[in-house]
Subunit: 498 residues, 2 copies
Amino acid sequence: MENYAKLLARMKEIGHLSSAAAVLGWDQQCYMPPGGAPERAEQLALLGTLAHEKFTDESTGALLAAAEAEVALLDDGSDEKLTLRVLRRDYDQAVKIPASLVAELAKAEALGHEVWVQAREKSDFAHFAPTLEKILELSRQKAQYLGYEDHPYNALLDRYEPGATVAQVDRVFAELRGGLVELVAYIKTRPQVSDKPLRRGFPEQGQRTFAEAVIAKMGFDFDRGRQDKAVHPFCTSFGKDDVRITTRYETDWLPAALMGTIHETGHALYEQGFQEKDTNTPLGGAVSLGIHESQSRLWENIVGRSRAFWDIHYGELQLTFPGALDDVSVNDFYRAINKVEPSFIRVEADEATYCLHVMLRYEIEKRMVAGELAVADVPGAWNALMEEYLGVTPDSDANGCLQDVHWSSGLFGYFPTYALGTMLASQLYDKATGDNPQIKTDLNKGEFASLLAWLRTNVHAPGRRYLPAELVERVCGEPAQSRSYLKYLNDKFRAIYE
Amino acid sequence: MENYAKLLARMKEIGHLSSAAAVLGWDQQCYMPPGGAPERAEQLALLGTLAHEKFTDESTGALLAAAEAEVALLDDGSDEKLTLRVLRRDYDQAVKIPASLVAELAKAEALGHEVWVQAREKSDFAHFAPTLEKILELSRQKAQYLGYEDHPYNALLDRYEPGATVAQVDRVFAELRGGLVELVAYIKTRPQVSDKPLRRGFPEQGQRTFAEAVIAKMGFDFDRGRQDKAVHPFCTSFGKDDVRITTRYETDWLPAALMGTIHETGHALYEQGFQEKDTNTPLGGAVSLGIHESQSRLWENIVGRSRAFWDIHYGELQLTFPGALDDVSVNDFYRAINKVEPSFIRVEADEATYCLHVMLRYEIEKRMVAGELAVADVPGAWNALMEEYLGVTPDSDANGCLQDVHWSSGLFGYFPTYALGTMLASQLYDKATGDNPQIKTDLNKGEFASLLAWLRTNVHAPGRRYLPAELVERVCGEPAQSRSYLKYLNDKFRAIYE
């Protein structure tokens, strides 16, 4: 197993380079002064190039082939076989992309972030357009290098959701969209609930104290992670023992930071939950963004927006903001944080409309990547689809096509995973509570350990051992489906809007 | 100039790797959760190894030789010639030290730090002695590999203060010591001033607001830098456009953060002051630790502890802490922050005694490196010199020879640069105000731009073009001397203690 050991040592070095880049990326979004941007772009480009070069070097390919020969007789389910399957997939994809393109993309994305921040501030799409064109063009080149069947978007989607295709996503999104539109239409016929109690003054410090107490109870390990402020909340990791989440506070909109923090905690629990023995190996990571999102959505919505959760925690929330919620019953609060109303901003969207925001982005970027939609036409297409899916038109590009960080970071193919994960959260929750009914009893007491334990065993510990579709099949005994999610939504929101 | 260009491209990459490591080091000291430590050590070791390998690779030597041939006919004062002079010096030194010794030292220092922390906690020098012996022995080996004339300490000193020698330092320190001992003896005969006003309650937020307003006025560019909290204050840089300083707040000791912040700002103004065209070249960096320290000491002491500074800023300080300083006149405050009193701890020492602490360490480490002082005899030598220089004997080794991190980190040769820089601060200030008398007028109005402009032109912009001694000679028209500093101290403190 000499070559296998050498290969893993190399992967460890590549992992360290990637972690170093992740630290630089975290700092860029949380603390870096504006003047640091150009140098940071170059530093990130270099680290990306070094990691890419080390990985795509011919000697890595030779080691991989030799290691595959070494483990040939082992069981297909052995860690060695599963490790090499992951590496073979990654390697074959990586060697298709020239180092020069990797470096060019990394640099364009780092600079793109600053330009996007400026453009969003000024709601000036034209300021962002040349940058977006550059990043889109490089991404289209990437798809060509990677190769694909049927649709160039497949090549990009596969990077975030290995094995997924436009054909599958189109099919499942069509089912989902039908159900969502029907539910949203029903809700529109009902008297609206009020979310005014959430718009009172909530000082930042109190929001932070309450949210951090909640996520500590949920299992976020502050000895192995921390939370900071950033314009666009995210979760990043420099190894399972240093997992960072970020949030942004709005003093007149309580859910922004509170539910955002629980969302990022769902991601962080996944990252903190990989096995010690998988540290710095190809198995010790997230299998896909869809699986990742299933964890964040499960904790944010199924747990964090549940009646059971607020029956337990509402008193503490009231105490955190003296006087602010004295006249609001837990029932009214529960209804408020679950208010369904088509709106402009994805990250603030309710559960019933959220996936419609995602599907809109998916449609637009799929067309951009296919060359069917020009960058200049994005604002118009965006606003037209907003009207079609949600019946509203954004009041500005800042609240429209400039709201997300993703395209400035070259993340074409990323968006659909939000909806895939959202669906999967319900499917996993149904399976978890079916396997262990105690989980519901515990949640009703504000205890999260049994739910986390089930997720650790079934979803976190496997790491990258199985493709997303395989993992879902192994855990749930069936492929990913929209049935669980649509039932969950209908049960919950038809009761709220009864 | 093809090889010259290739060489500079390589140096740029090495610079980016070093900057990436600096970001990781900054995060480690400012934000990293405890669980991140083991992985972070591996990430930093990898980045260090990659930078070292790239620099000491034979191909770098070949490029350097080829580049030297390319520029042979250029003027000796050309940037190309000066760049290659710096690189030749760095390269020849770097390749002299075997990789095995580098690794052994790194390991001994990593272990040594832990042992030192324990020894200091228990004030148990015997616990630290074997570790110190090991690090000393490896450092002596390093000196042998580097080569030297006259004294092995020269090889180590040269790493921090290029070109400086024991003979020069001995001479200038002898002058300085005589003057300092005489001044401290005089002050002992005078009534002591009180620093009690500095020990009242000063909330952290006020300290931060006041200090950040002051350093912004001094010229610290917050668009190209920031300040954070850390256990041990420091300044680090990821390029001249992203310079970070850190501080620690003590609510019952005002000077800790305030003067510490101005000190680190002096370092930061140097780092922010390199020329745009030198970015990522061997010229765009600090020439020595002594020159660096001259900048921090100049801003901290000559500006920040001056009567003129407080005449302008004391009112604002009083407003920042309502009520806390109402009964303290600006004269009493000025005297308080300039109180002279021999004490045990270097980092808390006043201006008149500080360099005596440094000279003591220099004497001891010089003798250790020469093999004239056994490790076991360090505590005795330390206490004897404390009595001789400062008239006090430490109450414990924790407050004596175990107080500094430097020896456990293998930094033999570093200490004297603190005193060289402190002296030089006065010499540079005299030259600046001689060249441009407006500087004093401006400082009396709380305006710092003319002083900063002089420093930018004369000290910052040259970067690494000249050796420290050359720079002093070019700027001041004479070698480094102690006369300016002794006159400054005598004028200031004989007035305060009149």
